[in-house]
């Protein structure tokens, strides 16, 4: 179509050529652009807080990036931050680990069995919209130690994305593949191992990556319960002590750790599903 090649695509990323008419987009250019976006964002923030912008956000008491950077520097010199990070990482990993194990197992069972779906999924659907913070009072009652309560909150954060992605992954498995495997002499167990599990894997990995993020998401909530260490605790404590730049430091640290751990999961996931990385072919 002559006209289509001349007009600019409405959604360049969805266009077959991938928006190539921008000119070549080398990885270097993209990395530079992404770094630039952070710099611009920080600069705008700095300007807004220097000029005490009042509207739409009141920046009077919001610390500027430079203040936050100074707070971060002093924090990095203090030995406590490593311990804070360590405690938080352990909590998130514990909650996430349990959520992954339970979520994937339940998801697989619900995905393959209508009976399990009817029996298990309904109460879970009721629990799903309850935010992590609403769990705090009950979590402290449910577990003897504060540590377990905190891990439970991070578990809640990670559990539902993993569960739902697993169910979705199993349901999405192409029935033709199951039929084909049956015709080649595969039994029930082999179907599960050879078709259902790998078929659901990309979706499960996606769920794990999202779940890792939402687990960090609920960390501050978890560490509000109690504690002496932890980045969430540090953030909450800074608010109580009116150390505003430190709040930002805590938030940024959580953001970075969450982003990093999700990226690790995605990288491992891509390594485990080489077939899903093939462009052009089916799946």
């Amino acid at each position: 179509m002559a006209t289509a090649s001349k007009t600019f695509p409405v959604l360049p990323r969805l266009w077959p050529a991938g928006g190539k008419r921008h000119g070549p987009r080398f990885p270097v250019v993209r990395i530079l652009l992404r770094s630039l976006s952070i710099v611009v964002f920080l600069a705008l923030w700095q300007l807004a807080s220097i000029h005490h912008l009042k509207w739409p956000i009141d920046f009077t008491n919001v610390p500027s990036p430079s203040q936050a950077a100074l707070a971060l520097l002093s924090l990095l010199h203090a030995p406590k931050i490593a311990k804070d990070a360590w405690f938080s990482i352990i909590r998130v990993l514990a909650g996430f680990g349990v959520a992954a194990a339970v979520g994937i197992c339940l998801g697989l069972i619900i995905g393959v069995s209508h009976f399990a779906e009817d029996m298990i999924l309904t109460p879970l659907e009721v629990l799903r919209p309850i935010p992590a913070v609403a769990w705090v009072p009950l979590a402290t009652l449910m577990f003897a130690s504060a540590e377990s309560s905190m891990i439970y909150i991070t578990f809640i954060g990670a559990f539902f994305p993993i569960l739902l992605s697993t169910i979705h992954g199993v349901e999405r498995v192409d029935k033709r593949l199951v039929t084909a495997a049956l015709c080649l002499g595969a039994g029930q167990k082999a179907i599960f191992r050879e078709v259902i599990l790998p078929g659901a894997l990309p979706s499960i990995i996606n769920g794990l990556s999202i779940g890792m993020g939402t687990s960090w998401f609920s960390l501050v909530t978890a560490e509000m319960i109690s504690g002496q260490f932890g980045i969430g605790y540090y953030t909450w404590e800074s608010y109580n002590l009116q150390k505003y730049p430190e709040i930002v430091v805590g938030m940024v640290l959580i953001g970075l750790l969450g982003m990093g751990s999700s990226a690790i999961i995605r990288a491992v996931g891509q390594y485990m599903t080489p077939w899903a990385q093939i462009g052009g072919g089916h799946k």
Binding site: A181, L184, G185, K283
Partner: protein, 278 residues
């Protein structure tokens, strides 16, 4: 319609078979009162308009879809479940995307517990035969549609099934690739003479491949006519321009056209829903 055969020569035998199933809440009568026989070593093509229920016959023989009435036996045994003795070639996208070509082809062998060295040897031979040497460790998604169908065929043949069932296996390929695949199938079949049932809506394909063509009526499918293809074997793409071929083609097209007008578009207007659902 088909002459009664001695029991030992019947590879596939359908007697008054009906298939009714539920599809998206609707009751569909796909096959009604269908009787057919396939001799051992015979290549039968089932030719019919799209959506006439011809694929359903194949899935019933494969044991994927249960029959609602009548009897269905393969080599004298009643079919109740899928099995590796009846190899089924699907139209497309039935290869395991997460398995390499080698692993896809050896799938059936692995299910039977054949040792690794033996698998590699068997698969290596068949890969050479279908001309995909060098692609052993590619994923299906990295291959063209035609290559994927070669793998599909090889994956079924490696199981050495007694019966080969093919459900429009070349339907999604471009015309040129389809002819290549037909010639490949002919060359394989000429060597093995495996009992085969091939479902297609392509008249040329049916005549080129089959010993016998069963022309189906509209849904619910039943056999409308039988055409014996006495073209000499081995056949190749050139066969399709012979005068005998053209004569057969005219005959088949006439039969197909009649079946389309009989039911076809007007069936829906008269609201003649298939009855007999339970």
């Amino acid at each position: 319609m088909t002459p009664q055969l001695a029991p030992e020569k019947r590879a596939i035998c359908l007697e008054n078979v009906g298939v009714t199933f539920e599809h998206r809440g609707n009751c569909v009568e796909a096959v009604r009162d269908l009787s057919m026989e396939v001799r051992e070593g015979e290549f039968v093509c089932v030719l019919g308009p799209s959506g006439c229920g011809k694929s359903t016959i194949l899935t019933a023989i494969a044991g994927i879809r249960p029959i609602s009435s009548g009897s269905l036996t393969v080599n004298g045994t009643v079919i109740s479940r899928p099995g590796a003795d009846r190899g089924m070639v699907f139209q497309q996208h039935a290869l395991l995307p997460w398995r390499t070509i080698q692993e896809n082809i050896e799938f059936g062998l692995r299910m039977r517990g054949v040792a690794r060295e033996q698998r590699v040897q068997i698969v290596g031979e068949i890969i050479k035969h279908i001309g995909l040497t060098g692609f052993e460790h590619h994923f299906p998604g990295q291959l063209s549609g035609g290559m994927q169908q070669r793998v599909e065929l090889a994956r079924v043949l490696v199981n050495k099934p007694s019966i080969l069932l093919m459900d429009e296996p070349f339907g999604a390929l471009d015309a040129q690739t389809r002819v290549q695949m037909q010639e490949l199938l002919l060359s394989i079949w000429d060597k093995s003479r495996m009992t085969s049932v091939f479902v297609t809506h392509d008249v040329d394909e049916a005549i080129l491949l089959g010993d016998r063509i069963l022309v189906m009526s509209n849904r619910p499918a039943s056999i409308k006519a039988e055409v014996i293809v006495s073209l000499q074997r081995p056949r190749c793409a050139d066969t399709t321009v012979s005068s005998e071929f053209v004569k057969l083609k005219r005959q088949c097209m006439g039969l197909l056209r009649a079946s389309t007008y009989q039911g076809g578009y007007f069936r829906g207007l008269r609201k003649e829903e298939p009855e007999g659902c339970s």
